[in-house]
Amino acid sequence: MESASIPAAGAHGHAEEHHHGPPEAHQSARIDRTVLGILLFILSEVMLFAAFFAAYFFLRVVVSPDTWPPAGIELPVLIAGINTVVLVSSSFTVHYALEAIKHNNHRGLRLGLALTWLLGATFLFIQINEYLHVGFSARDGAFGTIFYSLTGLHGAHVFVGLLLLTFANIRAWRGHFGPEQKNHLGVEVPGIYWHFVDIMWIIVFVAVYVI
């Protein structure tokens, strides 16, 4: 046993003293391996949203260009606008949280993450309330179907984002994060996802409620 361990230690040299486990993998791309996963995930999500937007604009531009939205349907633009402000604000708070931990400010991290979670939950609450009072259902024609599909798809993403933020909040309160980049990936990756969700909502809001 002893004779087998000595050559191994000699072969790895000083790296063995600091690095335990298998050797570091060769990095064949400029992108960090830890960011590649969320990048591929978000790209797949972009394609999913693109399919829903294609269906929306097909219905709106090709199928019924003159009657969109159908007569008698009034979307709550003001409420949705307020909801947009709420969600965009949450991106600023998660950005604040990440900047705080980069400066070793754990209190700022906890505050930023908690505010982000609360703003996200507020958005979801207002959206569910909107569904209850909007006056039509997903079965009321193509408009109802695509409206609930598109906004519901986004709402599901907000829900997933809230789950990620819940874990980030718990870990922040337990002091798991630090100022070095490798020590706050648990905030950075949900942050990227959260910004993506916000960007998608802005596009949904402009497409469905405004233009």
Partner: protein, 83 residues
């Protein structure tokens, strides 16, 4: 501004840019027509898509191809040199 998927800071910058772009789309839609707003929005999405795809191609490239003097692996700085 770089690739929006590179880091949280890059994604946040792009979020701010998207908010500004959305405001311009809303203004065009209200001042001219919904169709004009839609066309302007599609143009903006096209510009962003080109930016993101170029950034992705760059990020998937090998770090061995980097210029040793290159300190800022941003899409914009590389494009400037190529131009």
């Amino acid at each position: 501004m770089g690739n929006p998927l590179k880091s949280e800071v890059a994604a946040f910058r792009w979020l701010v840019a998207v908010v500004i772009g959305a405001v311009t789309v809303i203004i065009v839609a209200k001042l001219i027509s919904s169709a004009a707003g839609l066309i302007w929005g599609m143009i903006l999405i096209g510009i962003v898509s080109v930016y993101v795809i170029k950034g992705m191609i760059y990020m998937m490239g090998s770090p061995d191809d980097d210029d040793p003097e290159e300190t800022e692996p941003e899409l914009t700085s590389r494009d400037d040199r190529q131009a």
